[in-house]
Symmetry: C2
Subunit: 435 residues, 2 copies
Amino acid sequence: MRLSQFFLPLIKETPSEAQIASHRLMLRAGMVRQLAAGIYNWLPLGLMVLRNIENIIRDEMNKAGALEVLMPTLQPTELWKESGRYDALGKEMLRFPDRAERELLYSPTCEEVITDIVRNNFKSYRDAGKNLYQIQWKFRDEVRPRFGVMRGREFLMKDSYSFDMDYEAAKKTYNKMYDTYLNMFARMGLTAVPVRADSGAIGGDLSHEFHVVAETGESAVYYDKAFDDIRDGKVKMTTEEMRQLYAAADEKHDPNAIAPDRLREARGIEVGHIFYLGTKYSKALKATLPAANGEQVTLEMGCYGVGVSRLVGAIIEASHDDNGIIWPESVAPFKVGLINLRVGDAKCDEMCSTLYGKLQAAGVSVLYDDTDERAGGKFASMDLIGLPWQIIIGPKGAEKGVVEMKNRKTGEKHEIGMDEALSKVVPPKAGMAAL
Amino acid sequence: MRLSQFFLPLIKETPSEAQIASHRLMLRAGMVRQLAAGIYNWLPLGLMVLRNIENIIRDEMNKAGALEVLMPTLQPTELWKESGRYDALGKEMLRFPDRAERELLYSPTCEEVITDIVRNNFKSYRDAGKNLYQIQWKFRDEVRPRFGVMRGREFLMKDSYSFDMDYEAAKKTYNKMYDTYLNMFARMGLTAVPVRADSGAIGGDLSHEFHVVAETGESAVYYDKAFDDIRDGKVKMTTEEMRQLYAAADEKHDPNAIAPDRLREARGIEVGHIFYLGTKYSKALKATLPAANGEQVTLEMGCYGVGVSRLVGAIIEASHDDNGIIWPESVAPFKVGLINLRVGDAKCDEMCSTLYGKLQAAGVSVLYDDTDERAGGKFASMDLIGLPWQIIIGPKGAEKGVVEMKNRKTGEKHEIGMDEALSKVVPPKAGMAAL
């Protein structure tokens, strides 16, 4: 993508309405614009990141055998009366009549609708064992929407719901989701600490929140310092071993359960929640299936959420510096930022064009700054939007046939040849034939 | 995907609530389920088709240089007061207060919001010439929602909006979208007739509706028979030549404008609309930019819609038979249906497993019927869901090392070797190394 053709409205000043780094940076980097309190327009750069996150989640859910569905944003309230939750969410749940005076709601969550789908379409125990997920916009009418997309009113969520014939099968599904969540957050460059959370009236220990550690986190998390070592790559552990490590959210923390010298206390941003529901909804909505012996069994459910739009903010909170965002490669909107320091100079233009063409042919996403802004402005913009690699081409280098390559995360810069620059960003197999 | 692991609730009986083929078939094939009048749940098979259509549209829009954004479903009504359209859509536009008693609406279209984004974020004539699009759910509170997803209340739409500095540039953008639309519908296996449509108070001839010809179409379309020849591959024409052909919707039809022996009259399903807006919204919302000479210019706009969820129904209307759906390959949920006629028979199981593995390794999407249903039921189900190719493996064939291969569209069946079957569905380059 050529910057001159792109829509990237950067802001130089610090926006006064933003209190936290991710909100400030998403506005400054032209990723989102607020339309109303807690309701955002996603501009191209922000949407690219959102889609990258969505695709990692989709891929991991599919690998775990979950099946994607899509439920509508607007739903009739009848099912919520049947489940007994019609008033449970209070004013957070937006309800309103349609033109025929039938009451609709904007879905804040989908237990009722998915259970209705299952009771109407599953026929026998052979249909059980399924985990149905969607990636869909939700609405919760927060009293104080704030922190940008971190606590918006209209937000994108991955929510899934599993239906099993007994507790043992439900627990197995739950454990698979636990592993899936660790994988998906790791792929986004995050270490999420899975803390035991309140499972409310349902009881049991099958409730975990996944928290990204960041100074701006909204809640306290307590965890075994081994999680930091794992994140830093100092220790390798299986998920089975990780599950034995101490990790708890505020309300569950027990100082006696962990040696003081192993305890870490930090702020966490909740980005996921997995929860064993038991028969709470299946009982209320009569979602039963005949077992192999013909007996009607009430389905054992679990629900598993990920805050997709919130993750965009959480990743920035966990990965930025004074100059801007530092995207992990897996979610970066472009992998490479190509900077032409002197547009109009024949050698610079030619070298940039060649490199731009080769990167595209190799399938490497690249944003090519082909504008006539000054060098200082170009550097600042590229640092702000946080692409993992910068390739800078100026008249002196072009004369010698070299480029400057900068790693956004480490800040390291090297003057290298064009082929060497390519070899650093083109995956070994994918693109070499194209070069 | 193994059918035993998939969620595909087929219906044998003809659903009484469905009046048209696509609605009946989408229910029977387990693609959608109605949640409320005109509001649908998308089950896995239906969602796969929806996503395939979405991706073709996205790809063609990106090729045309358009940039993807995403506007929220809920919007404040202020902008609609500013544009003068607050009451224009009547009860079709759902409006309701949030908890703070601020009025919101569920977006039926986005001229106001996109114009607001542009006036706040474009700085000079250099930013003009952009075409911003989104693929987002909309809501229109139809009095009589019907025909399944063809006339739903909550529906998925691609809407884009272009902003140019003058009429000539706007016309050029319009023409590019005309070409883009013909390409995208052709890629979906459709011939869409671009009929001149009413451009209302704005005038001019820059308004075209794209109609898929089908018996169940909601409106009359009149067109030069050359369009049929083009669709049938008898004639090749450039888009420039096509634009000279006669084609008109009901209200614009002029019997004197075309020789009677060239006229075709049919029913059409509108799947797209492109429209030159002029300065209608940019004037009302004061979206101006300084030109190169410093003068403030009111932007020339165009808008371009595609009914994404409606297209799922329209494609079925245009492509089905008595046995079920016939998917064009480009939008098919799976390319191949693999039928094991005797699960449990060692040779059948082994041959199916091998083929299933090879197809997956070659990146060919395949639905493997590994259930123990009877042969007749399996054939009927596979015909109903309409995958382009069926590969059928029974005990006799397995003994001889052959499979039966059926083309769903033509009905042709051939007994062939496994490698020959593979070569028919694996793209020449992509997968041969994997075989």
